[in-house]
């Protein structure tokens, strides 16, 4: 039963990822006083792209076609590590949050290689900018997760969720406050949302992720878009699991599961609203201000780690 639920969790994270993206876009559109596309639009986009053919430049190597597939596969594997409906996940081990961070880095590495293989200027440009953002985002991500793990005295994601479930919501620890702030900033950088990167722009000056995927088309592009939606879903699920997991099912009863699903949907909706509000109210940062932004995240995560020892 546990295994079934774990598999269902992972499948839901993967299958509903485009929906989450659609919800964020719709809320953004409403805030900006537009009608906005339907929340199911990303699914029709994916269907359209899967039906098309793959265009490959003559000078590209097999890495060009392999990288979207690998990116998708690793991101789906990463989704199998996050507890969503109950305090356990399909894959898990001691220190699995390190594995999670490095799996996301795996996908990003191959995305950069695929971009460079395209043979145009945009690929290299996207790769070099992405290298800047991801390099500086690695340290705050791991330090914030480390701080949370140290406070919970356990190093598995499922274990941290179990520990948090037993804590009092109002006993806000400074470590958690700082860690959630740092992780929120890092999540924005990793998933390429405003203020770090604009996911809807195609202007040379403002693209980071979009520049890397410019040369891909058809099913390859569909896989990349889906993988980026899964990544957003994974970061949202991670934030919810680490900092606000109350409502997860503790027993395998139908009522418990129904409540877990409803509460989770509510939390995702809340975070989607927050993300949409942030994206609509803050301007995108100039690229060389992004190290400053990530430096703030780094300072917050270092402070979180130091507080684990000071406020013991």
């Amino acid at each position: 039963m546990k295994l079934l639920l774990d598999i269902v969790q992972a499948v839901l994270l993967v299958a509903l990822a485009p929906l989450v993206r659609g919800i964020v876009s719709r809320i953004k559109a409403r805030i900006q006083n537009r009608q906005g596309a339907s929340v199911w639009r990303p699914y029709s986009d994916l269907r359209k792209l899967f039906a098309k053919e793959d265009l490959v430049p003559p000078t590209a190597s097999f890495v060009f076609r392999l990288s979207p597939v690998l990116l998708f596969a690793v991101t789906v594997a990463a989704a199998a590590f996050i507890p969503v409906l109950h305090a356990s996940a399909l894959l898990g081990t001691m220190g699995d949050f390190i594995l999670l961070a490095y799996l996301l880095a795996f996908g990003r590495f191959f995305l950069m290689l695929g971009a460079m293989d395209g043979g145009g200027a945009f690929g290299g440009m996207g790769a070099s900018r992405e290298a800047l953002v991801s390099t500086l985002a690695e340290a705050p991500l791991l330090l914030a997760l480390t701080a949370v793990a140290v406070v919970a005295h356990i190093a598995t994601l499922a274990g941290i969720v179990q520990w948090t479930l037993q804590q009092d919501f109002f006993r806000l620890s400074a470590v958690h406050a700082l860690a959630v702030a740092a992780l929120a900033l890092v999540a924005i950088a990793e998933t390429g949302r405003i203020p770090v990167d604009n996911p809807t722009s195609h202007l040379e000056l403002t693209m980071i992720h979009e520049a890397m995927v410019l040369e891909h088309s058809g099913p390859s592009l569909a896989l990349i878009e889906w993988a980026s939606a899964i990544k957003l879903n994974v970061m949202i699920a991670l934030l919810i699991a680490l900092f606000a997991p109350w409502g997860m099912a503790t027993a395998f009863t139908a009522a418990g599961l129904a409540i877990a699903i409803a509460v989770y949907a509510l939390k995702v909706a809340a975070l989607a609203v927050v993300l949409a509000v942030v994206e609509s109210s803050v301007a995108k940062l100039r690229m060389y201000m992004v190290p400053d932004f990530l430096g703030v995240a780094c300072a917050l995560s270092i402070l979180a780690v130091v507080f684990t020892a000071v406020m013991r």
Binding site: S61, F72, V76, D96, I98, A105, A121, S128, M287, V306
Partner: protein, 656 residues
């Protein structure tokens, strides 16, 4: 098993003799690599059995030498012996083809004589069990590697680089000899067994002196910042197989020696020893990868990357010393496990990278990244092996680099459970530094692989590249396959390593679930491969055509990003580290608004050269100038010196 070891040594020593004979008998040329490979395979078998089963081997040759000379293979030595032999096999296979293609006559023979001797000297260093044998092997290693570098030629700048290499190696060797000599009053004969028992009773000041001298000496050989200056000068100018051996194996002998001194002889020391090693490792890691990021010469980039990886190994070693000092021996064992695993991982993927660089240089006659490109289509086997090695060095899961980094992270995290505040803060923060190093390494190797192997060739040379001969392909493919194997099934190496460490630090047990990653990785690999297979089957047709590229027809190679451009954003963010000397010259000088030529020069010297080495060298030269006044050339002044020496000696004897 002793017969296996003895036959291994005999074959290894026979190889240079065979090569010497082949100078005369031209037709038996192929014999020398065959003998050498046979020797190394025997070595692999012996070391593997000794490592897995733990039977110690020893060989005592003190009868034939003036000072005690003995070899012992305990588990730690067996591990490093296995490392040396396993990495040398593909390197020798590679050189069998590489040396034929690039060298002839005296150089060729010289290489085949010196190469097995070099490997033998490294074997001597890791199996020595007396001080004399160790120092003999240590010095031989330096001299033979310098000789191998000189086989490539010693024109101008190369001679300067070889000189700096020999100079720094000997300064380090002086420190090492000093560390050994400090044991002398207590452990005559300088056998390791005696040193082990004596070190615990020595006064603290003496132990600290030994530790510092050992750290300085072995750190110079390993390439810790700021003693790393010789690394980017010596490794790129050597022939490719020699670079691979130097970077992958020789640096590890320094790690072995440091582990021997720090953990075996000196045992538990004060915490500041560990903090010193930790800090040095962290600085080396970050600076190494930052300098690697800025390089466009493939081999220099790989040399700086070796500095980075040695930094990671020393970070883990420093953490182990700190954890041990604060009374957490099981966590210290975990950190030591991380360090040793990273040592063998680095040996495997660095040898692939250097041999691959050699193949690239063989096919295109250049190592400048800005002239390469599109080599993956032209050299598929080399390209795939290099891709595997790049993924491993970054530490991506399912490749071997990840397991070492994961263990290191776990050890650092474990440090947060210690009661005193200092390690509880420092060790998790060092985990953040490791994450930063990993991120920078990803950027660096994405640049290396993307610029050299992907997309369009940037010059004629790259355009006409062709795949290298089979032996060279084999030499690159074998370590890459080992990287993937250890990456998915790390338990193969982890279990015997855990036994090795429990032998090194007796009485400590590994923390629970130390290798729990070994259970997840195969499932993860299965999941990823399954998803890739499913998706690939579902995908539709492919059409080869020019892509969008903003509607520009006729994209050529100049539209691509260069290596310099790829690293520019990071170099700008870390500009305080690089600080190049820039000079812009506009001529004619009197007409700044109507220039005829503008020249821009940007020279990067590492800040250590400016702030540490140059002043030190200047001080030594200034002192030497002042001492020159003693050399007056007047014979009566020299007689005066003798007279003064005689008088002071008499006074000294009288008043002693």
């Amino acid at each position: 098993m002793i017969y296996g070891f003895n036959s291994f040594l005999l074959l290894l020593l026979a190889a240079p003799i065979v090569s010497l004979l082949c100078v005369k008998v031209k037709r038996a040329r192929a014999l020398s690599p065959i003998v050498l490979v046979a020797a190394l395979l025997t070595g692999v078998a012996t070391a593997a059995v000794s490592f897995w089963r733990g039977d110690p081997l020893s060989l005592d040759l003190s009868r034939f030498t003036p000072l005690p000379f003995a070899l012992t293979v305990d588990r730690l030595s067996a591990f490093f012996l296995l490392l040396i032999c396993v990495v040398s096999v593909p390197v020798v296979l590679y050189s069998a083809s590489y040396i034929e293609r690039h060298y002839e006559g005296l150089r060729r023979d010289g290489l085949w004589i010196l190469l097995p001797a070099f490997i033998a000297s490294m074997v001597l260093v890791v199996t020595a069990s007396t001080g004399f044998a160790f120092l003999f092997g240590w010095e031989l290693m330096t001299l033979l590697s310098a000789g191998l570098i000189m086989m490539e030629g010693d024109a101008g700048q190369r001679r300067h680089n070889i000189f700096i290499y020999l100079l720094m190696m000997h300064v380090g060797a002086a420190a090492v000899v000093g560390a050994f000599l400090l044991f002398l009053p207590h452990a005559p004969g300088l056998t390791f067994a005696a040193m082990r028992t004596v070190a615990a009773q020595m006064p603290q000041g003496m132990r600290t002196a030994i530790f510092l001298l050992a750290f300085l000496g072995f750190g110079t050989k390993a390439g810790i910042v700021p003693l790393h200056l010789w690394l980017p000068r010596a490794h790129p100018i050597a022939p490719s197989p020699v670079s691979a051996l130097m970077s992958a194996v020789m640096l590890k002998t320094a790690v072995y020696a440091f582990v021997r001194f720090g953990f075996d002889f000196l045992g538990t020391g004060p915490a500041w020893w560990g903090y010193l090693v930790l800090a040095a490792g962290a600085v080396s890691g970050v600076l190494g990868v930052l300098y690697a990021l800025a390089e466009n010469d493939i081999k220099r980039l790989l040399a700086y990357s070796s500095v980075e990886n040695i930094g990671i190994i020393f970070m883990a070693l420093g953490a182990a010393m700190v954890l041990r000092a604060y009374g957490a021996p099981s966590l210290a064992a975990l950190a030591l496990l991380a360090a040793l695993l990273h040592a063998i991982n680095h040996a495997l993927f660095k040898s692939t990278l250097f041999l691959g660089a050699g193949s690239v240089s063989d096919a295109t006659h250049t190592l400048n990244m800005e002239e390469l490109g599109g080599l993956l289509n032209r050299m598929p086997v080399t390209g795939i092996a290099m891709l595997v090695a790049c993924c491993s060095i970054i530490g991506l899961p399912l490749f071997n680099g990840f397991v070492g980094e994961w263990l290191a992270f776990r050890a650092f995290l474990g440090g947060s459970t210690l009661p005193p505040i200092a390690p509880a803060i420092v060790l998790p923060l060092v985990a953040g530094v490791l994450a930063l190093i990993g991120g920078l390494a990803a950027a660096c190797f994405a640049k290396l692989y993307g610029v050299v192997f992907l997309s369009r060739p940037r010059s004629e040379k790259a355009e006409h590249a062709r795949e290298v001969p089979v032996l060279m392909q084999l030499g690159v493919a074998l370590p890459a396959a080992a990287c993937v194997l250890i990456g998915i099934f790390p338990a193969i190496v982890l279990r015997p390593l855990m036994t090795t460490i429990s032998e090194l630090m007796p009485g400590t047990a590994m923390p629970a679930q130390a290798t729990s990653i070994a259970t997840v990785l195969p499932w993860l690999a299965l999941a990823v491969i399954a998803i890739v297979a499913v998706v690939s089957l579902v995908r539709r047709t492919v059409r080869v055509t020019a892509t969008w590229a903003c509607g520009q027809p006729g994209l050529d190679a100049r539209m691509q990003y260069t290596g310099t451009a790829l690293s520019k954003p990071l170099r700008k963010v870390f500009s305080q580290v690089y600080r190049p000397d820039r000079a812009v010259n506009i001529s004619p000088a009197g007409q700044p608004y109507f220039p005829e030529t503008i020249s821009y020069r940007s020279v990067r010297t590492t800040s250590f050269e400016r702030t540490l080495y140059r002043p030190a060298v200047d001080a030594v030269v200034a002192a030497a100038h002042r001492l020159r006044r003693l050399q007056t050339g007047n014979i009566q002044v020299y007689l005066l010196y003798l007279f003064l020496a005689l008088v002071s000696l008499l006074l000294f004897m009288r008043f002693l």
